[in-house]
Amino acid sequence: MNFDPRHTTRSFSSVGTRPIRPDGIDKVTGRARYGADFNMPGQLVGRILRSPHAHAVIRRIDTSKAEQLPGVKAVVTAADLPDLTSGDAAMYDILDNCMARRKALYDGHAVAAVAAIDARTARQALKLIEVEYELLPHVTDVDQAFAADAPLINDTIITTGVDPKPDRASNVSMRSQFGHGDVDAGMAKADFVVERTFKTEQTHQGYIEPHACVANVSPDGTADLWVCTQGHFVYRQHCAQLLGMDASKLRVTSSEIGGGFGGKTHVWAEPVALALSRKAGRPVKLVMTRDEVFRATGPTSATSIDVKIGAMKDGTIIAADATLRYSCGPYAGSWAEVGAMTAFACYKLENVRTVGYEVLVNRPKTAAYRAPSAPMAAFAVESAIDELAGKVGMDAVDFRIKNAAQEGTKASYGPVYGPIGIGPTLEAVKNHPHMKAPLGKNQGRGMACGFWFNFGGQTCTDLNIGMDGTVSLAVGTVDVGGSRASLSLVAAEELGIDYAQVRAVIADTSSLGYNDMTDGSRGTFSSSMATISAARNAIKVLRARAAQMWDIPVEDVAWEKGHAVAKGETHGNLPNLSLKEIAAASGTTGGPIAGHSEIVADGAGVSFATHICDIEVDPETGATRVLRYTVVQDAGKAVHPTYVEGQYQGGAAQGIGWALNEEYIYGKDGRLQNAGFLDYRIPVCSDLPMIDTQILEIPNPNHPYGVRGVGETSIVPPLAAVANAVSNAVGVRMQHIPMSPPRILAALET
C-alpha cells in the first residue's frame, strides 16, 4: 500500500479533523475499566514475595507455614513453573525474571507468590515464607559492571560480536558496531574536535497505572486473562509458552491502559497470576504496589557514553565517533545496539563509527521506554554538537542545518534515507518566534534534534457494517494514545461516512487474528493501513450488493462519498444508494457486510524532531525551572492532530523529567532507595510550562495517507535540549543527567 501522491493535494473529509475521542467520557467520569477494575466471583488476592538482596543464591525456600495459614489457597515458586534451563534462552530469561529459579538477581526479584482470600491473609502468608539466601557480591553501576574485575552476574555470558570470541564470561553480553568511512583519518583532518564522556541515570517510564491482571484458569485447561498491557496477543503467546498451554485456550483481554511507554511490553507478573489460579482452581487478581513497579519492572538503561566529533573550519563535520555502554539489568539485552544506531542518525557524515556494549548489572530487567535507548545517545551527541558549533563559531541551528541528513544521505546506521524531515524541522526552529524571544538573567536556551525509526508489524482488523449502516471496527493494537479516534477517522474517510457512525473497539485474542505489540510508534501507522485495507474490501462488497439491487454489472458501480454510484450512459440516471440503504437490504442481498484485513505493515517512515527549551537556573540552590518549550516534529500525516500534539507534549514532559529530576538511586547494599513517587519525582503540571507544538507533514511514501509514527520521537531530543539550555545558562557543559540541584551546584563549583 504505497502512498498515493494525490493525497498531497487531496482535501481529507475526516482525517485531519479533531473530534472528541470515543473513550474520553468514560475516562473522565471514572467508568473506564483499567487493569485493577476487573473482578470475578470468588477471586483470590495474589501477592509476590521479592528478594531484599541485589545478588544472592537461593539456597532454600520453605513455603509450608504459608500453605498452612487459613485462607491461603496456593503458593508458587519457580518449582511450580516449567524449568526452561535447557530451552530457549530468551524465554528462560523472561520466566526467570517473573520468578527467580536459582539466584535473586536484583533487589525486588520475585522469589515466591501466594493467593489468598484477602490481601491481609496474603501479606501474612508472605511473611511465613522462609527463604535462605547466600549473598553474592553485587554491582549496580554500568561503568563498574563493565570493568574486568567486576562481580560476575551470569557466568554463562560470553560477549558476542567480538573477534576472537572471549574465552571467559563477563558482564558484557554483546558488542555491536555501525558506521562507514575512515573515522581516524577524518578526525586527523579536523580543525576542531570535541571529546567528552556523558552519563545518564536509570529512569522509569512512570506510568500512573500499576501492573494489574485477573487470571482465571478453568479445570478444563482453558483460561482467561484480563490485563493492562500494550500487547495482549504477545502476552498470550508468552504466557501460554511459559506455562505449557495451547495459545488458543488462553483468551487475553486488554483493559484500558493508564500509560505504558514500553514498560508494558513485557510480562512481569501475569504468568505468576495464571500459575496461582491454576494451582488454586480459582480466579486470582494480582495488582502491583508502586514499590513493586519501581523495584521489579521496566526501568530504562543507565548509560555511559564517550563522544568525539571533529569539524572543519567551514562547519562541515568530518568525523564522528561514539562508544556507548548501556545497562540491561541482569539479562542480556540489545539496548546499546539501538543507541549506537540512532546516535548520529540526524547527520550527513562521511566518516562515522559507533560501538555499543550491553552491560549486565544487578538492577531490574531493562525495558523499552519510548524510542528506547535513543534519548541517552542524543543527549551525548547533541551536547557535543552544540559545543562543537560554538568552537567553529557557528549558530547551533545553522551548524545542524549545514550537516543535517537529507533524502539520499547514507544514514550512520547504514541504509540511504528516503524523504525525511530533519531539515524542515531545523528550518522551522530557525524561524520560530521562540528562538528570537529575549532571555533574562540566569536563563539559557538550548535546542536539540532527535531521530527514531518507527516500526510496523503484524496487524489484523475487522470492519463490520451493521444493518443500520453504522460501522464496528475491531482492532488488535491497544489504544495507548487515542488510536480508537484516529482509526475511526480513517474508516470514516475511506467509507465516506461520518466519524460518529464508526465505533472502534480493541478486540480480545479470541476474536481477532494476531497483532504485534503496540510499540515502535506503530499503533496508528499499522492499524490505519489495515483499516484502509479492510474498508476497501468492504467497499467491494458494498458495490456488489448495490449492483444486485440495481441488477447491473458490478463494474458499472463506483463508490463515492459514502454512496454507490451507477456509472455509464445506461445506468447513469439511477439514484445513488447510500451505505445505509445498502446495509438495510443486506439480509436479502447475501447477508452481513464486512471487510477484513490481515497484513504485515512494513515500511514505517523514520521520524525526526527538533526541540527548543528555555530554562532558568538558581545559581545558589541549583534549582531549575523550564520557562518555555517548543516541539517541532514530522508526523508524515497527522490523522488526529490533537492526539499527535498530545504525543509531542507527553514525550517532551517525560524527557524534561528525565533531564532534571528522575533517577534510580541505589545504596551500597544494592537496594533501591527511592521506589515511590515521593522520592522519585516526575514532573507534574505545575512544574511545566505549556509545551508548544508544530506539526510538519512530510509524507511517508509507504503509507496510503503518508502517516509516520509519532509516539516516540518526541522523547529523544529533550535530554539534550534541556542540557544545552542549562549549560548555556550556567556557562558549564553539563555531562551527567539528571541535572538535579546537587549536580548543577557541583558543576558550578568545578
Binding site: 573477534d163 555491536s176 558496531q177 528506547p372 546506521y413 516500526f455 508489524g457 512494513d602 509514527g709
Partner: protein
C-alpha cells in the same frame, strides 16, 4: 544477483566481510542463502534481522522482492516502546 551490506556484528560473524553478493529474488531467499553460506550467522539470524531496501526497513515481509540495483542493507531487528 544482489549486493548486500552487513552491519558490523553481522560482518564479523560472516568472516569480516561487510559486502556480499547473493543470488536471491526476495528476503526469504536472501536469508536462506546467507545461512547456507555463513553458518556463523545463525545466532544473529535467530535473534532477528531486518532488511532495508532502498532505505525502507522490512522486518517481516519475507516475500518482498529485492530489485536489481537496489541498496540492500541488513540491520538488527529492533523493537520500540
Amino acid at each position: 544477483m544482489v549486493e548486500v551490506t552487513l552491519w558490523g556484528a553481522l560482518a564479523a560473524a560472516a568472516g569480516g566481510t561487510s559486502k556480499v553478493e547473493i543470488e536471491a529474488r526476495n528476503i526469504r531467499e536472501l536469508f536462506k542463502r546467507l545461512s547456507e553460506r555463513f553458518p556463523g550467522l545463525a545466532p544473529l539470524m535467530d535473534r532477528g534481522i531486518a532488511v532495508a531496501i532502498d532505505g525502507t526497513i522490512y522486518r517481516d515481509t519475507w516475500s518482498k522482492e529485492l530489485p536489481a540495483g537496489a541498496e540492500i542493507y541488513l540491520l538488527p531487528r529492533l523493537a520500540g516502546g
